[in-house]
Amino acid sequence: MDAALFYTFAAITLAGALATVTRRNPVHCALGLIFSLLGVAGLFLLQAAELLFAVQILLYVGGVMVLFLFVIMLIHLEQAARLRQYSRQWPVALAALFAVFLEIYVLAQSGLPGLPPSPQPRLNAGGNTERIADSLFYVYALPFEAASLLLLIAIVGAVWLARKKEQPQ
């Protein structure tokens, strides 16, 4: 069952990602990204990352993507769709793509020696949420506080940027 679910979620993820990078209409791109993120959330679940699954949906899909959609709607869509869609850097991109595919090929060929198959996730070994919480608030206390600082800076910066543009040009 796990394998089937893996394929399903992987397919959703990749299809969404493909839509994101190929669709012309930014709203469709965003929708593709939403599905891709949901697929990734499912994959998190398959790997016993219960809390991350919920956080991915709550924060990424429900928060960041709403912001994206708002911004897309804030600026003229017709104009966005009329843009030439692909940039001039395509030779670089092709090279990069080739490199990554090579890497994947090598990976697939070697089959990642030394890595045993994943353990079957057991339920409630102390509870995923509890374990993360313990670790987060003890071991990672400092990054946790740093995150709040980052958020503060981000919000101040974003508001400042959003405000700045009122000044007449």
Binding site: L74, A162, R163, K165, E166
Partner: protein, 368 residues
């Protein structure tokens, strides 16, 4: 903080087919987000040429037409028209008819205010009030029906007095209504007056100061909510209003909330008038001596009364023939509606709904 991109404004048609424009008023709103930048009233969807029809009918024939203007308060329309024609021909309704006219006009004022209260509350999302007010309005309409057979466009009065004698149960019915309605009014107030959301929605919304009211020639409850003590029933008493002891409610907020409170208070005062009138209905004739064929001497007359929505005036010019040479109506809704732009610019879409509601318009009267 002008926190906006250079938004290309959205042009939004509100009406003619919109749930809260009370008929077929069309507003073209220029919106920035939800804020109204400009508003343009487009009227005329219900235009029937009532005034022109008046020039092609005899004075008697035209009387039922006036009911179709402000169909919510048809009695007041009829009263104004009858008074105007009576003045033109130099007749006066007998005392009994006058008192009965006052009774019906005040009942109609209550019915009109009730409908206003219900619908504008519904516009603000308070749906329950509508059903309560409709229930009470029904009682008024029943009285009308028992009197003349019609509920809405009553054509209750005739030039020179009344067509019908009061029906037997009229006094009992009206007294019962008055008793019941006093309590119901308190109920409405309990539901709305102190309701924090209701207050928030109306306070400070659609302010039209006394000067602005005067410059727009606004009349009726809107004017009195702006602190101007002007009510034709007191200022130029007609049909015997001078005999009654009642007050003209005046408030100073000049906003929608005070308009609401004025109307509620007016209903109370109307009840006072009704109670007094019931006590002193004189006996006697109900019809003055009026010629069968009306052919007024050449001349002109302007008579205005205090309709529920404001000053309702009739300007009639006679050239001595069977038909009026010119007939012009000053409809309160139409004049009051002109102030919408002043009030709505800068407000939110939801406020526009509240403002239209508290102007209290009837499109039949605006478009005529």
């Amino acid at each position: 903080m002008t926190n906006h991109l250079e938004t290309s404004e959205m042009l939004l048609n509100m009406g003619p087919q919109h749930p809260s424009t009370h008929g077929v008023l069309r507003l073209v709103l220029k919106l920035d987000g939800e804020r109204v930048k400009a508003v343009e009233c487009v009227i005329g969807y219900l235009h029937r040429g009532v005034e022109k029809i008046g020039e092609n009918r005899t004075y008697m024939q035209f009387a039922p037409y006036v009911d179709r203007m402000d169909y919510i308060s048809a009695v007041s329309n009829g009263l104004g028209y009858c008074l105007a024609v009576e003045q033109l021909i130099g007749a006066e309704a007998p005392p009994r008819a006058q008192i009965v006219r006052v009774l019906f006009a005040e009942l109609n004022r209550i019915a009109s205010h009730l409908l206003w209260l219900g619908t504008s509350a519904l516009d603000l999302g308070a749906m329950t009030a509508l059903f309560y007010t409709m229930r009470e309005r029904e009682e008024v309409l029943k009285i009308f029906e028992n009197y003349c057979g019609a509920r809405l466009t009553t054509h209750a009065f005739r030039i020179g007095g009344l067509q019908y004698e009061l029906h037997d149960t009229f006094e009992a019915e009206t007294r019962a209504f008055s008793e019941m309605f006093k309590k119901r009014l308190d109920e409405y107030e309990k539901l709305l007056t102190k309701n924090p959301i209701w207050v928030e929605r109306l306070k400070g919304v659609g302010i039209l100061t006394a000067e602005e009211c005067k410059s727009y020639a606004v009349s009726g409850p809107m004017l009195r909510a702006a602190g101007v003590n002007w009510d034709l029933r007191k200022a130029q008493p007609y049909s015997g209003y001078e005999q009654f002891d009642f007050e003209i409610p005046v408030l100073h907020g000049a906003d929608s909330y005070d308009r609401y409170r004025i109307r509620i208070e007016e209903m109370r005062q109307s009840l006072r008038i009704i109670d007094q009138a019931l006590e002193r209905i004189p006996s006697g004739a109900i019809m003055a001596k009026v010629p069968k064929v009306l052919k007024p001497a050449p001349g002109e007359v302007y008579v205005s009364i205090e309709a529920p929505k404001g000053e309702l005036g009739y300007y009639i010019v006679s050239d001595g023939s069977l038909h009026p040479y010119r007939l012009r109506v000053r409809p309160p809704s139409f004049v009051n509606l002109a102030s919408l732009e002043k009030m709505a610019v800068g407000a939110l879409v939801a406020d526009v709904v509240a403002i239209i509601g508290t102007i209290d318009i009837v499109l039949g009267e605006v478009d005529r």
